[in-house]
């Protein structure tokens, strides 16, 4: 079947080509014409299309011959090309091009081709067909399959030619189906063909319901006078929807009637419908009729709009009010203003709102009158808003006057209108009229000043706060002070606070004071006004109030005053001061708090102060060691077991974090003893070269001596490794090559000095920057390469510091307290400057004759393509040895081993020679711009592994060429074609990523840089379609491979554990 069909197409194409080839020059083969489609840019597309059109209709026809019905497929490019031609030839002013293209479409359309292909061409003609297409398209009006598309295209073309062709078909072809008839009638209706009315009328009472409805709709659209009775009758029978639809038809007919000039009749029908059909079931019908009436009659229908308000139909009201907007004139406005008096309040409200939006000032007086005098609240409410709408800022005075009202809901409505009006004029007018307003009105205005931060109204707000007779107004004013006043106003507000007698007022005023002083930029100066008042005051209750506010304000002077007041003879003052101190969160309060917690007699104050001290210590940014001191202090003075328990708990928590390695690191120092460390041999055997020359016996002897010395001078206390400044350096038992190391250190005394030796060689400097004017961290003994730190990043002497040191091959990078101080710099060989630094060696904590402390010493060795101890224990094996392709097959040449990496410059596929079913695979990979590779799993060695096996995508999806092109399941980590991965967890191109893939039965999990990005059940999640195109999803086992697509990538540390 399929075969012979294609054959026919080919024959057709050949015949057509033969027919055209006579008069065509320089014509490419049709297949060449579609090259370049779909075009990427508009200019490319236009030049492609222009080129095809230049070759003439025959070439385009040959292109169209390449179209295939959907089931055969494979003509995507052709469809793009034709879509482009249609678009290009349809551009304005391109009638010659259009003719060429349409001619070809019509030629092919008339040939013997598949109907679905014809359908496509008819659809294209919908966009560019004109007169010339009418006749060829009309042929299809009687075709069961193509009549509808043909009718649509004819409708789009329109005009008298289409009309007569449709009429001709409808009148002469009695054999056509109802479907065809409907399609024709449908178009004739939309073309409003009066000539067709008589013909269509025949079907207006057809027994075929669809045909009947189509005919009636068409007659209505045409406005066929002779159909009036049919349409009128239909509007009253049938189901509710049938009636509604028929009534809409009828009204459309009425509209057309009016358009043809018979306005009186149209209007009469509308009025009749308004009268007879205004029922609860058909609320919308009078709406529709009035809308048509308004279209037909314009202002003559105003009485009908006004009358609508007298009916109970609320939908009708809304439409009448909307339609009023179509009728201009101040007399219209007046009539509506007058109407208000005759209707119920609900309807009044709606009319008022309409008048507001009508923007005709004729309504102004009426609305003002209603606003001032209506007894109906809702009517007044509506008037406020309408006035705002109508006269904008001019309504401000009126609205503020209305704030004499004392009902809160009324005040709220007025304020909502005012809030939409320009700020400054509202503020100013409100200030002028303020004293006349009700209490509720005054409060609302003050709140408005607050919301708007109306600094211009500061004086009014301060006056209100100080002397308004209404407490509620005062309180609102105090609240507003924060926004409207500034720190310049502290003094008067403070005075008001001290003057206030009512406790609510005092509290509101003190909040205002605290917020104002908070704006003083120097924290030490914030309390100055309060301290001055404290000093000058003789009133104990004032003093008490002032002291109680100080903890919220802070400052060293304030703290001193509070501390002093804790010794006051006045018990109120003393109590307040003790409580104030117990609230003082600043680190500066730690010592006095501790002292008083220890000395105070009353248990309740002891408890409060202890709690505060404890919180200062626990929550501050104090270094751990200071926190430890704080906890120790607190333990000494704690009086109650619960206090002690809590502090001990916190202290233990802190200690527990010491000397615990972060993920990936191991501790070099266990926090308890010198396990893992040994002493440095004394000179000259501190030199690794000399040391290597010693005999085994001699070395052991020397080491024993050195270890003795170590024990004498290096000790461990509270998790800290302490050196007393005598003896020799402390060194690791093991040697290290490449590593990352963390270490905390503290110089105990000023001018103290030490250092860290890497690979037994000096050194990363540790010293007192105060003495040397250079910070710590530099590679001090370098001569050729830089020896100084990039910045001084040391903490003060006596405080802890942290190094992060990375040593890879000859180069060292150091961060001190988070700042880069040595950037990937070569460490020179101090012991023999002719040589590069040793490949490995011990790490030494230097003795330079000064006491120094260390702790939290961690290391992470960087050894690629080896298993860690843990991995060995867990049963991992190396899949890649870092040297050659042992265990790998396939395009190994495409993946040369460079510097311990499988380094692909553009290779294809390589696979393990072993087969794996369930496993955990770990590997590192580095992307390059545009990298496209994939991890093949359960794959055979032959075929496209993405389909016959499974491919877990490895892709630089940030690359430009993939932008907007990728399906969800093509992003990195996706099970290709089956399950999309989470995005956004790849490291930037050029950095190493670590990926772990767990394949267990039908479960596939991909963990990228620590985040699970894919969790798939490949038995359940893919659709039938996916299984069809990716049969490999069902594989139970196969090879593991890297699937190259010609782009560079590097791999290392490839390790596997079989399940």
């Amino acid at each position: 079947m399929k075969k012979s069909y294609n054959f026919l197409i080919v024959i057709n194409a050949v015949l057509l080509l033969a027919a055209f080839s006579m008069n065509v020059h320089a014509q490419g083969r049709p297949a060449d014409l579609i090259e370049g489609f779909p075009a990427k840019t508009v200019s490319q597309e236009n030049s492609l299309s222009a080129n095809i059109i230049k070759q003439g209709s025959p070439a385009i026809a040959s292109l169209c011959q390449m179209l295939q019905p959907p089931q055969t497929g494979g003509d995507v490019k052709v469809r793009y090309a034709i879509g482009s031609l249609t678009q290009y030839a349809g551009r304005p002013g391109a009638s010659a091009d259009r003719k060429v293209v349409v001619e070809a479409y019509l030629k092919v359309l008339s040939s013997d081709i598949d109907k679905q292909v014809k359908f496509f061409l008819i659809k294209e003609l919908q966009w560019i067909g004109k007169e010339e297409s009418i006749k060829p398209l009309s042929v299809y009006l009687t075709d069961g399959q193509l009549c509808k598309p043909a009718a649509r295209t004819l409708e789009a073309i329109g005009g008298a030619g289409v009309e007569s062709s449709l009429i001709n078909t409808l009148s002469t072809r009695e054999d056509i189906s109802d479907e065809s008839r409907m399609a024709i009638i449908h178009v004739l209706g939309n073309l409003r063909s009066e000539k067709a009315a008589k013909l269509i009328r025949v079907y207006a009472d057809s027994k075929e319901i669809k045909l009947k409805q189509t005919a009636q709709a068409a007659l209505a659209n045409i406005g066929d006078l002779a159909a009036q009775s049919i349409l009128a009758e239909a509007s009253g029978v049938g189901t509710p929807y049938a009636k509604a639809k028929a009534t809409s038809n009828y009204l459309l007919f009425v509209k057309r009637l009016a358009q043809k000039g018979d306005k009186d009749k149209a209007a009469a029908i509308c009025r009749e419908l308004i009268k007879t059909r205004n029922t609860v079931e058909d609320k919308n019908i009078p709406c529709e009729a009035l809308s048509i009436l308004a279209d037909v009659e314009g202002r003559e229908s105003l009485p009908d709009m006004l009358a609508a308000m007298d009916t109970p139909n609320d939908q009708f009201h809304a439409v009448a009010l909307r339609l009023t907007g179509q009728v201009a004139g101040s007399d219209v406005t007046s009539q509506w203003v007058n109407k208000i008096q005759t209707v119920a309040p609900d309807a009044q409200v709606k009319i008022i709102a309409m008048l507001g939006q009508r923007k005709d000032k004729t309504a102004q007086a009426g609305l003002i009158n209603l606003m001032k005098s209506s007894k109906e609240k809702n009517v007044r409410f509506a008037s406020y808003a309408a006035l705002g709408d109508l006269i904008g800022p001019m309504s401000i005075g009126l609205l503020i006057d209305a704030l004499k009202a004392d009902q809160e809901d009324e005040v709220n409505v007025i304020m909502n209108v005012l809030k939409q009006l320009p700020g400054e004029p509202v503020n100013e007018m409100a200030a002028v009229k303020f004293s006349n307003l009700s209490t509720a009105g005054q409060i609302a205005i003050i709140n408005l000043f607050d919301e708007r931060g109306a600094t211009g109204q500061k004086a009014l707000v301060l006056t209100c706060a100080g002397s308004n007779p209404e407490m509620r107004v005062k309180l609102a004013a105090y609240k507003a002070i924060k926004r409207v006043a500034s720190s310049d106003d502290v003094e008067p507000v403070l005075a008001m606070m001290l003057k206030a007698e009512d406790s609510k007022e005092r509290s509101a005023a003190s909040k205002a004071v605290v917020s104002l002083v908070g704006e003083i930029s120097d924290p030490q100066k914030r309390a100055q006004w309060l301290l001055k008042a404290f000093e000058n005051s003789t009133d104990v209750s004032d003093k008490v109030l002032l002291i109680s506010l100080l903890p919220q304000i802070g400052g060293d002077d304030a703290l001193a005053v509070v501390v002093k007041a804790t010794g006051s003879d006045n018990s109120d003052l003393r109590d307040t001061a003790l409580r104030a101190l117990a609230k003082w969160q600043d680190v500066a309060a730690a010592d006095p708090t501790l002292e008083l917690a220890s000395s105070v007699k009353e248990l309740k104050y002891h408890v409060l102060l202890m709690r505060n001290y404890f919180q200062i210590v626990a929550s501050s940014s104090m270094l751990d060691v200071n926190k430890l001191n704080g906890y120790n202090n607190a333990l000494e003075i704690a009086r109650r077991p619960d206090e002690k328990n809590l502090i001990q708990l916190k202290k233990n928590e802190l200690l527990a974090t010491f000397n615990r390695p972060p993920a990936g690191f191991v501790a070099l120092f266990n926090g308890k003893d010198l396990t893992g460390w040994k002493g440095l041999l004394s000179q000259p055997n501190d030199n690794p070269i000399k040391r290597s020359e010693l005999s085994a016996e001699k070395l052991a002897e020397e080491q024993a001596k050195a270890n003795e010395n170590l024990k004498a001078h290096w000790s461990v206390q509270d998790g800290v490794l302490m050196f007393d400044g005598q003896g020799f350096s402390c060194v690791t038992e093991k040697d290290y090559k490449n590593f990352e190391m963390l270490v905390d250190w503290k110089i105990v005394n000023p001018r103290g000095d030490s250092g860290i030796y890497l690979r037994g060689t000096p050194q990363i400097q540790i010293w007192d920057p105060g003495q040397h004017h250079i910070g710590s961290g530099g590679l001090y003994n370098n001569k050729t390469n830089s020896s100084k730190p990039l910045v001084t990043a040391d903490n003060p002497i006596g405080q802890w510091n942290t190094f992060r040191i990375k040593m890879i091959n000859q180069r060292v990078t150091v961060h001190l307290n988070g700042q880069l101080v040595v950037d990937n710099t070569i460490l020179e060989n101090f012991w023999n400057r002719e040589l590069p630094i040793f490949p490995s060696g011990q790490i030494e904590l230097q003795c330079h004759g000064d006491p120094i402390h260390f702790r939290n010493i961690y290391i992470r060795e960087i050894i690629h393509n080896t298993l860690s101890e843990q991995e060995e224990k867990d049963g991992f094996e190396l899949l890649f040895n870092g040297k050659d392709h042992t265990g790998w097959v396939g395009d190994t040449k495409g993946y040369p081993v460079v510097d311990g990496n499988l380094s692909c410059k553009g290779g294809r596929n390589i696979f393990t020679d072993q087969v794996y079913d369930n496993f955990t695979l770990r590997f590192d990979f580095k992307l390059f711009p545009g990298t496209n590779n994939g991890l093949g799993i359960r794959a055979p060695l032959e075929g496209d592994a993405a389909y016959v096996g499974m491919e877990l995508q490895i892709l630089d999806n940030t690359a430009k060429q993939y932008f907007n092109k990728l399906k969800d399941y093509q992003y990195h980590g996706s099970v290709y074609g089956a399950k999309a991965a989470k995005r956004g967890y790849l490291k930037p191109v050029g950095e190493w990523n670590h990926e772990e893939v767990i394949v267990d039965g039908s479960q596939i999990t991909v963990i990228l840089n620590g985040t699970v990005i894919t969790e798939a059940d490949i038995a359940k999640e893919p659709t039938a379609e996916m299984f069809k195109s990716h049969p490999g999803l069902k594989n139970k086992e196969g090879h593991i491979g890297f699937l190259g697509h010609g782009a560079p990538i590097e791999f290392r540390n490839i390790k596997i554990k079989k399940h």
Partner: protein, 428 residues
Amino acid sequence: MKTNNISRRSFIKSTLIAAPAFSIIPRHVLGGDGFTPPSDKLTKAVIGVGSMGRGHLGMKDALLTAVCDVDEKHLAEAVKIGNRIRGGDHVKAYKDYREVLDRSDIDIVHIPTPPHWHALISIAAAEAGKDIWCEKPMARTIGEGKKVVEAVQRNGRIFRLNTWFRFQGGFYGMNTTVKPIKKLVESGMLGWPLKVTVNSHTGFDWKIGMWSGKTNLTPQVVPAHLDYDFWLGPAPYKPYNSHRVHQTFRGYWDYDGGGLGDMGQHYLDPVQYLLNKDDTSPVEIEADTPQQHPDAVSSWRRIRMKYADGCELILDGENKDKDAAFIEGPGGKLFKGFKSDIPNLKAKLDAFPDPAPQVTDFTQAVLNRQKFALNEENGHRSCTIINLGKIAIQLRRPLRFDPVAQRFINDDQANRLIDQPMRTPWQL
């Protein structure tokens, strides 16, 4: 400084018309004493109960009474969910939406069908006297949208389009609702005209990859539970393929317009509101895009639109303009997260008046016959942006649009995309 002449407001104030001020004649009276929540005074039907429609079942505007779909599976599922939400077995199932419209006891119809049905059903519902809650995009063509506006207004209907950012909810990456942005625009601090850039750097993801169509669909057997011919309705008949229907329909011009159609109105309706363009449309439209397939929607790079007053709209389909402000004018810029180059912006804004309040409770809008915040008129205008964009990427040439006549100037082919005939017997 030249200020824009933003009229003060065009909405009735919701705050002042409290519900009890109106007498309401409910269609059906529930038995029993005591308080009836407003939403229980109204009934609704949901037409189109696929993935989007299911979300409409539980919306609390009215009592769910009927569901309708041409896919029996969707319908059965919706009846189950609907009855669980409503309690009891009040929810009736329909295949033909016209039978739903025949029920005079239904007040509101929700229309979460694919967009090629929105106008047809909206207009039928309006003519049947129903109020309407329609999914975005409002209509598949500008011509269809225009007719919805006419039918809704002629019949006095309340219409709500289902996107909401102009009146509630965090506005994607802006870290705020639209309200303060509107206030900022109205304050004049940014100056005029304004330029708005919409792309995923500000949280507006065009979902282009997600809702692209396929270019070579093999015909498949129509599943027994789906009436495919009815599903197509006014759309041209093309052989069935599962990618044409149910969610992925978004990738085909016949039914929608890709990610632009799907997400565009969410993003751009608030922009129309912000720029005070609710009664107008851009006058110049230009697209930079790879070629589009005649059947399937695919990716596009950039669509630029300009209004008559010089305001500009950039739809950045490539999400290329990483550092572009969301809104910028001669006076300043507003970036992602409501950040601005205007110092102290928030405090400065406090001094300015609030934007006009909006009617945001649909049930109350229906009961009180008030225009909803996002209604047929402004909804049609924001949908016109989507449809202008679609036409621009289909025709790939600069277009000029007359926002009053709602026709393109001197481009017959473009105008044929405004009015697209429907498949008989469907028509507006």
